[in-house]
Symmetry: C2
Subunit: 926 residues, 2 copies
């Protein structure tokens, strides 16, 4: 093994004395916290016999594992005794050119004596040898560092002693064989395969498959070959002296701190390189010494459903790894209750104690050695969302934790599992591709490649999955009836992703592996050829595309979930609204707890079959009069749409945005027209039709833009064509007034999109106020309404103080804001953003979670300038970030009044808003 | 005439006393300045006989005209005596419900007596009547207010007196006729046409055309009809009392302050409505009383070329208006020198005095009445750029003004006239359309619709004007050989506009009136049909498109121009660099005084005929190896390009930007391919070619983006394809090192475009530094270089403190910054930006002059954050704004180190940078 590089060796040497001084101070300070008597210079911390030096609060010195063992010991959990060499020694080790000081080995010997005493065995003893495990343990769990060494202390002689002690020759030799193998690879740095090859050869020789079928003689032969291999590889004998084994293992742990893999991991995770690792030495206990021995694993509560019952498995006369290895079938813990009730009782009481202490579900390991129960490990138990919510609610009722703590420990993203069907985790799946997990949930159905086909097939009662290169507003009708959506292009905020999340339809986007040919109605991936009407499944939670129909589970929304969500409402300060364009979505959102509509996109109403021709008529109009005629025909549709929304929202505010997208989105595509025209020209049969198409193309070309995202859209449309805004405002207020006449409460908020200057806003506000007042007067009703604006253009944020003199509310459109602050088109940037994330240039997709440093800075500036200028300014957010937990917490911090998100993210937003109040740190760093 | 609305009448009444007090104070203060004895309450200010109460410093009280008359009088210019009623009286008039106080008329009478004394005539006298002119005069020149009334004081009796006095009956009646006409329309509010009709009728009757042909009897008849008209329209007789005429005229002037037109003008120009107007009453003098009378106009220096010689014309026995009316041919002033040398001498001395006093070229009017010379008016003389520069330089040499003042008074935009050919102002032109004046200068030539045709025709020696819907990088070869460019789409920073300005080629863009059909090689406008090879002219200074070949003048760059530019260099703090991609442009810029290249766009080199195939090969490469092979072929081209630039720049710094545009710009257009493929498919004859085209289309589609401006471009290319950056950096440093080997000074500055995050910059900097160091080592030379970045993404400005930790210079790309801060695509926004400006939503095109409030705010933030983080950070600007005078002054204010602009704007930038130091205010408000 090459010598690890010493960090800053020269400098460190010079200041060694000084450094040690600082170190002592740090130790004293840490030790004081746990109220132990003053310790002069201490590197080794004992645990065992119900008492430990240190605990969780000495995590810096003891590392995570050492602190945990000490903590368990201190609260009276029977843990095999042992001791921890502090992380401080690791730094000293590097400062001393990788030499351990004498004083350390003295301390180790003293502590070893205590272990020997407690275990009634002696390290290196020929008759009753104490065996040790050695484990690394830094402050943060860190892959890349040294693996465990078990059975340390065995040699030719002590193995004989172990046989005498246990009467089990095979156990003893197998333990010795394992020890040499681990020591050889981990401490001596010999390739693991070298040892495996020897075992394989032996098994081949006997034509056996399992290690367990090896006889004692085989094991002895293997041991001998292992030792020869070590001699040949290192030039030295395998060390027989247990203390030498011990010393070498400690050094190996410290050296592993500077493994390339460990260094790389620290860099990636920004873990300081001077934290160091601790070394944990602990007495071995065995569950396989006979029938009075057993070993098992478990959870303090059911990790699937949260039920408050001990849950786990065990095996009699077995080693820990056997339980999970699947060679023997382990028994459920209920069996233990019947078969060994005293052990079960003890286990139950210990695990309850652990749960109470750690105030959370524990995932534990235990071993019974010759009738004596030892807890080997405990850690936070991983659980499903269902279990997490149930357990948290139960624990509040058990007064184990507070409501705040319950909120702190549920991750908002987990709730997705409770809101969508999921693929049966036990099902065997043929995953054929992976894309971006754009809208959670799983769905299966028959492949279609067009909106028409989707509608046709869905009407005949089939489940369909819509597959496209990308979607556009023309596809809405097909998307609405699809069970799932799959696209080969686009990012997390592409049209498909946004619409699908809005509709709560599972969706995978940007699945670039698949090659979609929409004309030929086929897509290919890795040799699979999938045609129209063949079955696939998409998992919008993972991004997987699965061949055939995957079995799904629809998780029940239990009563605890509702209760939990009410708590979030009690605590949160942020309001939560929804983005909804149609009554169906609004209704769903209200069920999920939305308190209003934060964004109704009027243009989504324009794509319906019965309206699109009218919209096109309006766009193609050559005069203002023609345009007004077309708009008059659209008015009744818009009015009835708004009426529906107002009715569903029952007095909650409804923010309606005036027309936003560029007009050419409503026209046929230029490319399609070009092909049609070329065909017609070459056929030369239908001159009339050719002329008509050419005229249409001319208008499409006139309206087409190089960068439509930065083109003639948003309020720019309403300014150049004021009659469009007039029609929309008229529709809003006629709808509102008709309901107001029936004594219904209606709170319309008209929102002007894409405002960049005060003048733009004033222009549109004048129209809104004029038409609104006229309509209210006509209907003779009283109606309060607000006129505000989207803040989505950087300039609007920069001049928010000006704009707030006229605008009554702001709603930050952080999708567009992110596009413009980064200069990323969300329809195009998918490809390089993925590259950026993979190469560490971006830590996350800024369309998924708000970029607090840049976009967030300008949003915060806008909030401050706006509120400074108008005290009662209402400020919200209605971009996709409104449903992202991290972004919601940021919105809380910068003083927003509400967030608005798609209906299926409303519960997530409610939870995130509550977490913004109670904090998230305690739980995530634990 | 309807009564004008009284501004804030009620409030004003209540506080009247107080208001007058404040007024007195203000008057005292103002009067103190001109060192006159204390005046208690004063509304009328006298001028005449070499002394006036007040002068230019009492502009607030006397208005512009009154202050000027007082000033002239005080410096000893013989001005017909008179007096000014102060603006304060105007406010008092409105405060008193539009009644003049008695005290005013007393003061008027007193002052009138002084005038009578000086003129030796008496107001209303039957034998020797004094006549007056009445003129309005606010602080700021303001159209919409009352016109002049001449000959006030005439009535049936005094007209007879005038005949006696002058012996000229026709003169007297004509004067009376004019007075009634003016008084009737201006004071009594009768439509002017009513009077004109009467005169017309009379002329028809006599079948004569000119007013001058009317006889005395005709005039008498007309006067009689005028008076009847007045009686019938107002119900009252035309006032015969000269004092009533006077009173009514004064009131009419005050009332005209609140004319709708005047109110509108004040609103537009943000002139406070409480400034009020003054009234100027002045003795009439006549140049048409006989042969000892004359009248003339002139300039103190030649307004065309600046020559220091009296320049103007005069007529003997004539009225002022006759000189400009063109009925009699006036004589040049040189004639006066011979014919009336004593008058000429006096005139010369007076005008020199005026010029010396006002320190600028004066445009004056004078009249000699019976041998006595009166100056009637003097004002700043309008002049050509040529004259402006020559006169300014001369005046500095004459010690009339300082260098700073010379700089202050030349408008940078004027210099354009000195740098480009202009259309002969005397030529008769047939203007057929108007677009945006995108690149100054005029050019004529034969129409071409494609780059190929342009090259072909130009090679055969023809001048060509390139006409396109819009241009793109494919057109560069054609644009380079064109004399002028005309497009029907695009704004001031469209591709055509930017490239044309860069090349100094006259260009008109966004000329939407013309319908261009590039396929059929024809464009139409207002019934004109213009085909390939027909002649047109474009005037890039005015935006005009002219039929046929317009005659042009190439102004000479005189020695004074060079001298003047040197002064700007002595004064300015900002450096001035140029945007240049090829040695030819760089050379031109150096001639114009550039101190380095601020932006070299490497991609412009990629469009050359011999390189484009290689660029396409690189883009279409399927593997990194293939791509590197193509790049290796490009390397020698790039290297020789850079070498050329470095050599021309002779040790000035050269900022080279790595590849910026999205790759699909280098590929054929999707639309064209689609048509080709459809045709090939339908013909079904060339399956090989079809396949090839289909493959190309597939790649084009793969690379095509919805919003390329926000897509995969800039450093995003160099990050995903590091081999591109590597090749470019290698080319830069091999070129630099080869020159350094020959002891030439080379200062390369590598600039990374479109950086939005520190990580992006670090990624590219690593490549630059690595390849640079390798190359420098290989060549064994010493070479200093910088690595910096464009700041053009809003996020880069917001996080400039971070980026400056690594970047050694910033160059603000305010084109892209404006696009993103406003959300305007400069290729698309032209249409609605024009609408915005016409409708007052934008005050100017933010792509032409930097939007200081929004874009400027974020730029200033970036400068501050950057310099706070790195003290020696060099900061410049290289967007189109770098050549806009207002923007340059802003750049100076926010602490930039240099600006960079296209070669033809370098002199303009030098001047603007100097003006940023010396200020511009004094001159523009004068």
């Amino acid at each position: 093994m090459p010598r690890a590089k010493k960090p800053k060796a020269k400098k460190a040497k010079k200041t060694e004395t000084k450094k040690v001084k600082i170190t002592k101070k740090a130790i004293k300070k840490a030790v004081k916290k746990v109220k132990e008597p003053e310790i002069k210079e201490k590197f080794v911390y004992f645990f065992g016999g119900g008492k430990a030096q240190g605990g969780e609060k000495l995590r810096d010195l003891l590392g995570g594992k050492g602190a945990g063992l000490a903590e368990m010991t201190n609260i009276g959990i029977p843990v095999p005794p042992g001791f921890t060499i502090s992380t401080q020694m690791c730094n000293l080790f590097y400062d001393r050119d990788m030499n351990l000081p004498q004083i350390l080995m003295q301390e180790v010997r003293e502590n070893l004596k205590k272990v020997e005493k407690l275990m009634g065995a002696k390290f290196g003893d020929l008759k009753n040898p104490l065996l040790l495990s050695v484990r690394s343990g830094a402050k943060f769990s860190m892959p890349g560092m040294m693996d465990t060494i078990l059975n340390l202390g065995l040699n030719e002689e002590t193995t004989e002693g172990l046989i005498q002690k246990t009467g089990n020759e095979r156990f003893a030799y197998d333990s010795y064989r394992r020890f040499i193998q681990m020591f050889g690879s981990v401490v001596l740095g010999i390739d693991k395969n070298e040892f495996e090859k020897i075992i394989e050869k032996k098994k081949e020789h006997h034509r056996i498959k399992m290690d367990t079928s090896l006889m004692v003689s085989d094991l002895k032969d293997i041991i001998s070959k292992f030792k020869k291999k070590i001699k040949s590889k290192t030039g030295e004998e395998f060390p027989q002296d247990p203390f030498l084994q011990l010393l070498m293992s400690i050094e190996a742990v410290f050296k592993s701190w500077n493994n390339p893999r460990a260094i790389h991991y620290r860099k990636l995770n920004q873990i300081p390189s001077d934290l160091g690792t601790a070394v944990n030495l602990q007495a071995m206990v065995f569950g396989n010494m006979g029938d009075d021995c057993l070993t098992g694993v478990g959870f303090t509560r059911n990790p699937s459903n949260g039920e408050n019952l001990l849950f786990g498995e065990y095996l009699v006369n077995a080693q820990g790894e056997d339980v999970v290895a699947g060679i023997r079938t382990p028994k459920p813990l209920e069996k233990l209750k019947k078969e060994r009730s005293e052990i079960y009782k003890k286990l139950l009481s210990l695990t309850k104690k652990l749960e109470k202490h750690y105030q959370d579900i524990q995932d534990f390991e235990f071993t019974v050695q010759q009738g004596k129960l030892f807890m080997l490990q405990t850690r936070r138990g991983k659980r499903t969302a269902h279990a997490a919510v149930k357990a948290a609610v139960d624990m509040v009722k058990e007064k184990l934790i507070s409501k705040e703590e319950a909120i702190r420990r549920i991750e908002p993203a987990q709730l997705d599992q409770l809101l969508h069907p999921v693929i049966d985790p036990d099902a065997k799946l043929e995953v054929i591709a992976r894309g971006l997990a754009a809208s959670p949930g799983a769905a299966s159905g028959k492949i279609v490649f067009s909106a028409e086909e989707a509608v046709k097939l869905a009407e005949s009662g089939e489940d369909v999955i819509m597959v496209r290169k990308e979607t556009n507003p023309d596809d809405i009708s097909g998307m609405a009836v699809a069970r799932g959506i799959l696209t080969s292009r686009g990012g997390m905020t592409s049209h498909a992703a946004v619409v699908a999340r809005g509709m709560g339809i599972p969706c995978v986007v940007g699945c670039e592996e698949i090659k979609v040919n929409e004309e030929r109605k086929v897509f290919t991936v890795k040799g699979y050829i999938l045609r129209e009407k063949e079955s696939i499944s998409v998992n919008g939670t993972t991004g997987e595309v699965i061949l055939g129909t995957a079995p799904t589970i629809k998780p029940a929304l239990t009563g605890e979930f509702g209760e939990f969500m009410e708590w979030t409402d009690q605590i949160r300060k942020l309001g939560v609204r929804t983005n909804a364009d149609v009554p169906k979505d609004a209704e769903q959102a209200i069920k999920f707890g939305a308190e209003g509509i934060g964004l109704c996109r009027t243009e989504h109403m324009f794509f319906a079959k019965d309206r699109l021709p009218l919209v096109r008529e309006m766009i193609l109009a050559k005069t203002r009069e023609e345009r007004e005629q077309a708009l008059n025909k659209l008015l009744p549709f818009q009015k009835s749409d708004f009426k529906g929304l107002f009715e569903v929202m029952k007095g909650f505010p409804v923010t309606i945005r005036t027309l936003d997208p560029p007009l050419h989105e409503f026209l046929p595509k230029k490319e399609e027209l070009l092909v049609e025209i070329t065909e017609l020209r070459m056929k030369n049969e239908e001159p009339e039709k050719l002329k008509e198409k050419e005229e249409l193309l001319a208008r499409v070309e006139e309206l087409s833009e190089f960068n439509p995202m930065l083109g003639h859209r948003g309020c720019r449309l309403g300014i150049v064509y004021p009659e469009i805004t007039e029609m929309q405002v008229k529709a809003i207020f006629e709808a509102a007034c008709e309901l107001a006449k029936k004594k219904k409460v209606v709170v319309p908020e008209v929102m002007i999109p894409l405002v960049g200057t005060l003048e733009e806003f004033v222009n549109q506000k004048e129209i809104v106020v004029r038409v609104a007042e006229e309509t209210i007067k006509k209907y003779k009703v009283k109606l309060k309404y607000l006129v505000g604006t989207m803040i989505e253009i950087p300039r609007a944020s920069l001049t928010a103080d000006e704009i707030a003199t006229e605008a009554e509310f702001f709603s930050f459109g952080t999708n567009d804001m992110t596009q413009m602050v980064y200069g990323y088109s969300r329809d195009d940037a998918g490809k390089f953003i993925r590259y950026y994330i993979e190469h560490g240039i971006l830590s996350q997709d800024p369309f998924v979670s708000i970029d607090q440093k840049g976009v967030g800075q300008i949003v915060a500036m806008g909030v401050k300038k706006g509120k400074d200028s108008r005290k009662d300014l209402k400020v919200g957010i209605c971009g996709e970030h409104g449903g992202d937990p991290e972004s919601i917490i940021f919105c809380h911090k910068i003083g927003l009044d509400y967030v608005s998100c798609s209906p299926y993210r409303v519960p997530i937003a409610r939870l995130a808003a509550a977490k913004a109040v109670v904090g998230t740190e305690d739980y995530t760093t634990a």
